[in-house]
Amino acid sequence: MASHYEAPIRRPLVTGEKSYHDVTVDVARPVEGKANRAWWIVFSIALVAFLWGIGCIIYTVSTGIGVWGLNKTVNWAWDITNFVWWVGIGHAGTLISAVLLLFRQKWRMAINRSAEAMTIFAVFQAGLFPIIHMGRPWLAYWVLPIPNQFGSLWVNFNSPLLWDVFAISTYLSVSLVFWWTGLLPDFAMLRDRAVRPFQKKIYALVSFGWSGRAKDWQRFEEVSLVLAGLATPLVLSVHTIVSFDFATSIVPGWHTTIFPPYFVAGAIFSGFAMVNTLLIIMRKVCNLEDYITVQHIELMNIVIMLTGSIVGVAYITELFIAWYSGVEYEQFAFLNRATGPYWWAYWCMMSFNVFSPQFMWSKKLRTSIMFSFFISIVVNIGMWFERFVIIVTSLHRDYLPSSWTMFSPTFVDIGIFIGTIGFFFVLFLLYARTFPVIAQAEIKTILKSSGERYKRIRENGETLSGTGADSRTSNFKIPEQTTASKPLQDTTEKLGNLLEGVGRFDASLQTADDLKVINGIGPKMEEVLNNIGIFTYAQVSKMTKREYDLLDEITGSFPGRAERDDWSGQAKNLINN
């Protein structure tokens, strides 16, 4: 079919024999299942870190900023370092969903949902710092131009810190609606699958009654495209404005015109590194290896390599301009970075950011998951140091030698940073259990052009028309299945395979459960199951897709019923309650 033409050189983006229904099932599985032990352990650690961070924030606000390691000279350090770091991380999400959409990159579809979630959660963390680093955070509302009783006393629109307020709040709110609008069809899918009434109610509420009409989809796609067109300049402007905090100052080492693009490149660099970190874990934990493939990781690594090189060029440009400028303050600022008391931070930044992405030129390394994970962590550390170096080394030694000083953080500085990391992971872990982590509606649009199964069909010269049907969800018979009559003899073999999968029932040790409690099993079906040798919830709970298929083949009645009703999930609930 011409409508799904794809150049043969392209590798499939969805591996495995996936049909539309498989996509649904795979995306819904983490949401419909129960959290495992690993999830609870990681969640508890994140929650403890978060609570510790809250404690540190309360301590700071109630006691005073003096509990931090700041001093009269270095009056921005960890607070703004963390702020810029988190904002930077938040940039990859919008980049993936917006810029890659404008460039029609199909590989973005498996990762955009999580990247946007990451954006939102990272911007939450970033948004904390402008508030808590204030001396009087309870007066934070004064930054807004609200008519008031002080003769209407306004704000000053010349300050980049005020631009920050507008930039960050616009960025957060626009990213949020972009993300949520994209979620509507996926929430609707969960709503229509939900078995438990509470779940159904929640997903009905958050899906806003999405019905998937042709007109809705037409508008949906237009809105996504326009939002992508708006979010792209937004993402560039937001980090530009953040960089203005420094670039518009008169501090040597800060006052440069290269900061806006250089900060944005750094943001994409660190953001992609964070996406890589999270997705490498997520594909494993949520069994999404067929959607987030090595190819996705490789492509992200290439973006990391590219933006890492841009950052490297920026570093060299800064050094060249400092030497070329003939301004001794500027020259000293860079000499101080390389050889001063914070040389270790500077060289950490240099080696982590400039050298580590260069490994990605090697195909062997960039397609290695372990190595990508390692580099993605290194890059995030390096980018934290970049912000730290820019902020602290420029402040601690500038115009007047009499005000030169040093900076060292206190446990409260560190505690708040750890708290934001904890908060980020609390949100991300909750997200991974309750949200469809892959934009399934979008994956379905590329399945026929980029799915492995369809690629094979296309290459065999067969038509793709009709191949979207799935025997589990419809009584529609695909012609080849009806013509090939199944021999009856292999039923015993299938029965053996089925019982091997779910375990055999031993009447002398176990008692039979009332299977009729499971929604979808009536008296007749219970009899059929008992005849096969399935008597207990434990056996039913062990059923997977393989067993469901075997069961369908053996019984021949209600094909796909067991899977649609999620018998195994229901049985697990019955065992647990």
Binding site: S173, D192, E222, L230
Partner: protein, 179 residues
């Protein structure tokens, strides 16, 4: 007159649906609605839906945002309290305009994005607590549903739809859920 009876033809493949839409249109039947689990590209064209004007509204909203930003900052910084803050010239809007650009830009994007999304929600009638209206829950999974009004032509329509590859054809009375 609203049709009291509609026919629901269910398909399991987007390509089959597309050719069915073309056949049904060629036979001059009016397709009331099509519910799909994902955007089927070209479906709106095949159905003959008018293009959406949401992008135009976004442009207009952006212009409103730019105007709001300009008027607000001109009033506050130049008209109301024309103070000297760090030597910045506050004699006219143009003189100090570079400092206003970031916020002019942000508010343009803010108004454009949010008002367009709200317009989309209102036009498509989606909001929290709105009840879903897809007639079959499978249409958010992997089924495609075409709804056609019946006017005493049940049989011919059913036969036509069967020929187009529909896997299920249901005649539904719409009276019960008419508000």
């Amino acid at each position: 007159m609203e049709a009291s009876k509609v026919i629901h033809a269910i398909y399991t493949d987007d390509d089959v649906l597309m050719s069915a839409v073309k056949t049904v249109k060629a036979e001059r039947y009016h397709i009331e609605e099509i519910y799909t689990p994902f955007p089927v590209h070209g479906l709106d064209k095949a159905m003959g839906l008018a293009p959406t004007r949401l992008a135009i509204t976004a442009f207009l909203y952006g212009a409103v945002g730019l105007a709001v930003a300009t008027v607000m900052m001109n009033y506050i910084m130049i008209q109301d309290w024309p103070q000297d803050i760090g030597g910045k010239p506050s004699f006219s809007f143009l003189e100090n305009m570079p400092a206003f650009v970031p916020i002019m830009f942000e508010l343009t994007v803010f108004f454009s994005a949010h008002l367009m999304v709200i317009t989309f929600y209102m036009r498509s009638k989606i909001w929290p607590f709105k009840k879903a209206e897809n007639p079959d829950p499978r249409t958010t999974d992997d089924h495609f549903l075409m709804e056609i009004a019946v006017h005493n032509n049940e049989e011919s329509l059913t036969n036509l739809l069967k020929d187009t590859g529909a896997v299920e054809i249901n005649i539904v009375n719409k009276d019960e859920d008419a508000h």
